[in-house]
Symmetry: C2
């Protein structure tokens, strides 16, 4: 892994630009070209029941979708603003201990449609699903709608 | 305001039991018997676009509903676990600068139904709406579904 691979760039961006992720201990720890994983320790994210604070579960879920788009854009040399504009979260059960979130890349036709729209209209929307897990099982289902605004690229789109 | 009024108890509980709220700077700053208001400063909650991180907006919104139930239970001398089990959030526009969230008490018939169910079944559910504002306008609409589990009370229910 070099300092300019997408995952390293993502971690630098999270650390530099979204400071509360540091307080939550959120780190992007793997990306295999399809699935992106963020993880966080239990301790800074505890609630009154000693399980995970609902806001921390939401944050890691929404950030996972944001992060998947971030690495996909970096891979294509595209600079863009990414924002979640709608989120739906279901808490399946309380999260105990450390937790992680996985966002898988949507099917190729959705991704190609998304990048096609971004190229022609300079903005595009996409829906992403994320599951948050503790050591034992899924704890959260999240669906986020994201908008992306093209800012520039290393090559012409 | 004394150390045992509901708002002071709420702030102590947030500070002691949900540590990430300290990092976010979230404080419960008013409750008039109907509307409860939480507020937070911009700085620890910034994102890459220098507006409010989506996870912080969600957190203050979900906590506002939680906090309204907390003070309503304290007022009646009831000890209970409160948890959000479903959340839907719409980001109306980016939040610029400091922000605050307001959760208003539902109509009396909903509250009385809720406490009636809690008394007879020792658990009850309720849906709450929250709006988050920056200095200029509403920035977030949130709807949360909460479950409450009775633990005990100062007097018989």
């Amino acid at each position: 892994m070099t300092d300019t691979d997408p995952l390293s760039l993502l971690n630098s961006t999270l650390e530099r630009c979204i400071p509360i992720t540091r307080a939550m201990g959120i780190t992007a720890d793997s990306y295999d070209g399809n699935r992106l994983r963020l993880s966080a320790p239990a301790s800074p994210n505890l609630n009154d029941k000693l399980t995970t604070f609902a806001g921390s579960s939401y944050s890691i879920a929404a950030l996972s979708g944001w992060s998947l788009l971030y690495v996909k854009l970096v891979e294509r040399g595209i600079d863009a603003d990414i924002a979640v504009y709608k989120g739906e979260i279901n808490y399946i059960k309380p999260a105990k201990g450390d937790f992680f979130a996985i966002c898988a890349t949507p099917e190729p036709e959705f991704i190609e449609d998304f990048f096609g729209t971004l190229a022609t209209r300079k903005k595009a929307k996409i829906t992403l699903n994320v599951v948050v897990y503790d050591a034992e099982s899924p704890v959260v289902d999240f669906t986020g709608k994201y908008s992306v605004r093209y800012l520039g690229s290393e090559q012409l789109l």
